[in-house]
Amino acid sequence: MVLALMLLWQTVMMAQDRFPRPEFESGYEYPEHQLPLQRAVWLEYVDVAVLIAALSVAAWLALKKRSRNGLVWLAVFSLAYFGFYREGCICSVGSVQNVALALFNGNYTIPLTALLFFIIPLVFALLFGRVFCAGVCPLGAIQELTGFSPVKLPRAVESVMAAIPFIYLALTVLFAATGSQFIICRYDPFVGIFRLDAPFTMIVFGILLLLAGIFINRPYCRYLCPYGVLLNLFSRFSWRHLSITPAECTECRLCEDSCPYDVILPPEKAEYAGDTTGSRKRFLIYLVLIPLFTAAGSVIFFNLAPALSKVNPDVKLAMEIREEVETGTEATSLAAVAFKESGSTEEELFTREMDVIKKFRKASPWAGAFLGLALGIGLVSLTIRSSRTGYSPHRGKCYSCGKCFRYCPVQVKKDKI
């Protein structure tokens, strides 16, 4: 490998040594090279430490201190640190891609910091709910601080839109695992705002989202964020979770409409639930449907594989070159020109293309299966009835933002101690 590289260098050099290297007589010295190094690596571990500290503070503020103001200030801090200072990179949302790439790609080794950024918020979600979203995630924070007057969307719209993150997650993992693209980074609407510098369309998209977010709070979190899907799942099984009321819920209904995301669950009493045979039947039907959906999803995605593989630059280039070979229309894209200059052969390109498509064929059915499974489980969970006393937030969907706290009139009696 090294030898081949040296040989390559040698040949390239030979070709370009048009002029002999001068022999200076005046004692001329070559100037110093300016190749400044990256900021020190240990600073990235400072980021990890800040992440853990911020998550701990968020958990304490949401579960113990029950301070909405505290969470807002934490969001301000996270926005300043992870957003503007670290310029939105490194972020947990994007780390999904590094993990996918590392898991499925032989020669990529994941930076430890990226792995930690992926794992730690999930661990916290499993312990305390989505405290990461409450005040640590910079994307969440910028939306949290700009969401002023929430309006409610119809339930149907809400549940259809809520499916988008699943699709986004499936595609993200698919594209990252095949080494094609990091779509979360590419279409991150706020990173341009953090950097105060981005392509025009992304700035517009970011600002539009923030404007929409004034009324439909946290639009990115609800209808796009792929990491939110994982947090949602982990948070459902959390060990502790924020509660609306500091003590016993008196079912006064004051908090019912307080959640901007409409995720407060009303009490459900078993004895009023009425006839259960209907829902039992539906439960069983949907249960049978799960494997069907899963299979259907994987078949659909298997067939979509060639189309999906077009996001890979090798595949795109190969298509263009093939068209040139077959129809004679000259391939003029920058990539095609660069390819012709590079001296690698068409066969090499086409083998690379086949490799990528093969990878897509292998990976796409899994993405489809995941979507089918998620849909199936979602339907089943609609039919499950439970008994709940008091109002409580939906553990998966609650961002632990604490906006509902001040609606609860129940006080903890001070003289209890």
Binding site: E25, S26, L35, C89, T113, C185, T389
Partner: protein
Amino acid sequence: MKNEKNIYQSRRDFVRKAGRVLVVAPLVAVPLALAKKTTASGYVWQIDPFKCTQCGQCKTHCVKTPSAVKCVHAYVMCGYCDLCGGYLRQGVKTISTGAENQLCPTGAIVRRFVEEPYFEYTIDEDLCDGCGKCVKGCKDFGNGSLYLQINQSLCDNCNECSIARSCPAQAISRVPADMQYIPKEREEGHS
């Protein structure tokens, strides 16, 4: 009443516990699976000068303005020519430092007389915007001693370099952080 509640309660507790085990499993499995595939120091993005075709995307596609990509000079390869293909516009009538003669749109290349007949060319990185015009000129007419590199102290080290995504030559890739640059010089250890 109490018993009735308990059925649901215990059922829910069971589901929660089972679910917890189910989600903890991948949480433990992922780091284990990646144990051998983790680096402590990470990566930086860098241009392979031997693949780069100076297409100009480096100037426009970096998330930073001006781009983190800068021209670098491998002095040992340079011919120190009077008629420099990287410094002068093609077909100039007079060889001079006049702005109208310079190839670099920002005037970032500094020409300095060394000794007869040699001239030294250095890059003012504050002015360079990584357009690659000089690199192309040098490659086509000179020794190819000018080349583009991502300046690591300016680069944000994006999770996915946005130039890498659009680089037509696929010249930009992750390199281990202890490498940082891909120097073009022949002589080893000279950087």
